[in-house]
């Protein structure tokens, strides 16, 4: 019984100690790198150190290393397999300076498309070695390599700190890819978003960058492309990549086109029904092959949050109008001259109306059509004048006039009716009388 109790104590002590050691190792030191890795601009997958002062690495692939400068030339991630060709990996070490007093053990591991390691190299940087660049190369002759995705993995003290992929292709594919890159450089692209594209005229309807989510709604993108060099006439394959608010692609579409003119347009659309999309910032990226040639963003918003721009309803109280009749309007002051309501019919005579509009409803800011309707004694319109006015200011004045010669007018009671968007806002009468005999 005593032995059992003692055994249990020892066992528990041992297990506690062992667990503590394991936890200590995994928390404090075992892995010195952060997971998941980050992807740098040059596509190196970097496992950053937990301590930012520790060494990290970036990988650059190239066809050659300049003998003069020692710098990589013909950089890239796509290489064609050919006789006597090589791929060099240049690995730049960050924070190397912090480790001058320590030997460093690195490994470079090249793996083939099946994931098999085909060349591994250990590189020790000794404490008096100030190198901050590590270089390794492999032959890419056809007898040694096949097409596909290869990886280079870079380890510091057996721990993966960076990796990068490159593609080996046969020469034809490489040429196509190179051509694709050159073609992409020759194109100017501009993306415009809209609600609809008129199928007959191609005109963009409701163009903008903010769209509401609604059932059966769509957002169209029209991409205007212009050749800087008119020599592009081969078939081109574009990829429209629609990116959601989470920054991930939700729809990719291939668009094949053979441009016949220097300028051409491609288009695409997505549904923006609430069932399919969330509100947020979206992007469209247009690629030619692997080359990004245009990128533009737009916003999807919920329907209820959109402020509906409904013009305020116009009524008689919205705007008031005063009509003044006169024989003429001073050219200097613009003021009515010889204001009256009875006018004589005579040669070359006119009746002017000065219509003063006063905005009472401040929400009224729209453009309106004002109609001045001159109505004769038989209640028929003798002349209508339509004027576009914008009621941004509180007071607006417009003028209209009719000729009152004997040939055109008869004596009697006339009216001037003023309409604002078909709403009668003012009416005033005046009288025309026969010419007094001299």
């Amino acid at each position: 019984m005593m032995l059992r109790s003692l055994s249990l104590k020892i066992f528990m002590t041992f297990i506690t100690a062992l667990t503590s050691v394991i936890l200590f190792l995994f928390n404090s030191g075992c892995s010195t790198r952060n997971q998941p890795p980050v992807i740098t601009e040059d596509s190196t997958i970097v496992y950053l150190p937990k301590n930012p002062d520790e060494i990290s690495a970036e990988i650059t692939f190239c066809r050659r290393i300049s003998k003069k400068t020692g710098e990589p030339t013909d950089k890239g991630t796509i290489f064609s397999i050919k006789d006597d060709a090589k791929v060099f990996a240049v690995i730049y070490l960050k924070n190397r300076n912090n480790y001058f007093n320590k030997d460093l053990m690195f490994h470079i591991d090249w793996t083939d498309p099946e994931g098999n390691s085909f060349y591994k190299k250990r590189i020790d940087l000794l404490r008096n070695d100030s190198s901050s660049t590590v270089i390794s190369s492999i032959s890419i002759s056809p007898d040694k390599r096949k097409t596909g995705s290869y990886y280079l993995r870079f380890y510091l003290f057996r721990e993966l700190i960076a990796e990068k992929k490159f593609l080996l292709t046969n020469e034809q594919v490489d040429n196509d890819l190179t051509n694709s890159k050159k073609t992409a450089e020759k194109l100017n692209a501009k993306i415009t978003f809209c609600r609809k594209i008129n199928s007959k005229t191609g005109k963009l309807i409701d163009a903008g960058k903010i769209f509401t989510l609604k059932d059966k709604g769509s957002v169209y993108a029209s991409v205007s492309l212009t050749n800087k060099d008119t020599s592009i006439s081969q078939p081109l394959t574009f990829i429209a990549d629609w990116i959601g608010p989470d920054d991930s692609s939700f729809y990719r579409k291939k668009i094949n086109i053979t441009p016949e003119t220097a300028s051409f347009t491609i288009s695409g659309s997505i549904s923006v029904s609430p069932a399919k999309r969330l509100p947020g910032n979206y992007k469209l990226r247009i690629f030619l092959g692997d080359n990004l040639i245009a990128e533009e963003g737009f916003k999807l918003v919920k329907q209820e949050k959109v402020e509906k721009i409904i013009p305020p309803k116009l009524n008689k109280e919205s705007v008031s109008a005063q009509i003044v009749f006169c024989k003429k309007i001073s050219k200097k002051t613009g003021e009515p001259v010889s204001v009256d309501s009875v006018f004589e019919i005579k040669d070359k005579a006119k009746v002017f109306a000065v219509i003063s509009l006063e905005k009472r409803d401040t929400t009224v800011n729209n453009n309106f059509k004002l109609t001045a309707d001159w109505v004769g004694p038989n209640d028929s319109s003798v002349y209508k004048k339509r004027i576009d006015i914008n009621l941004t200011d509180k007071n607006t004045t417009v003028t209209s006039s009719i000729s009152v010669t004997p040939e055109k007018r008869k004596p009697g009671i006339y009216f001037l009716r003023v309409y604002l968007s078909k709403l009668l806002i003012a009416e005033r009468k005046f009288e025309l009388i026969s010419q007094k005999k001299k």
Partner: protein, 346 residues
Amino acid sequence: MLLGHSSYFFNSIWLHLDPADPLLPNWEQFLLRYIGYICAPGFLMMNGAMVWWTYHSRISKGSTDWEARWHLIQRGLFLVLVQVSWVNSSWGGFSEFKPGHLGIIACIGLSMIILTLIVRMSWQIRLGIALAIFSVHPLLLKITYNPDIMWQQILMQTFIDSGDFNKYPVLPWFALATMGSVMATGWFELWKDNKKRILYGLSIGLISVLISVLIRMGNGYGNIFPFSDFGSYSFFLDQKYPPSLYHNLWFFGWVAAGVSVVIVLNNVIPKIIKVLGIVGRVPLFFYCVHLAILGIFSKRIDLFYRKGEITETLIGFAIMLVIMLPLAKWFGGVKQRSRNYIIKMI
């Protein structure tokens, strides 16, 4: 062992993992690989303990000295034969007969044979021999040889270095087996009760671990690979093929301490030991059969061969346990009942 082998067959890391120079992408893969590191030291130490116990048991039952030794020599030779005839070929699912190299089972067999020469010696002398080999082995590794010259390769890689012919050179592993025989003297003879076995076993184990840490921190003699910091991958992953002095002492310590834990477990939760005992009764059968099943189904039929990662490895391990435990239990019964020479050997 089974976990390590499940990883070897199902884990895609083995497409590019070189066991002699391991590079690891994350701590999960590190752990999976490192767990297997304790197997070989465990096998060799248990083998050494078993040799000591069997010899003395046979002597006490009336066998002559030569009879007791001859039994062990036959068993050692049988293990070498199993290695070259079965084990080597089972890795590839028997698609090829590959008798041309040695491995862990042959190393155990050869260690067993050599151990018969010193099994009667006192534990102090055996301890001295083992420690002397541990100490001298790093110097022997400096012997230069040309692995392309067959006799040099066979000689060096059978006893001292690791390579294509043999990953498990006899000399350092024999030293571990000898350490196992020394511990067996304590477990079965000197320490009369479990309390002593547990305390002495734990103490010796932890002292050995401590010495190994000191050797590692020294980063000089007894180390093969450099390391960055205490507790990093590289700290633990010193060379296993062939084992460094640090590796030998580190794992001797953990195995010795582990035996104490097993003794405790046997007192506290005896059922667990019963389950372990199913495999412990027929270790060679378990090793040979599970490797053959994995080799045939995974490698040869290409069933998830190196297509998965951690999860797939663990699933494979669980499936293999479900297959192997009943088989081991069944064969344990057969072996107990049988008087067949070969079956008794397995």
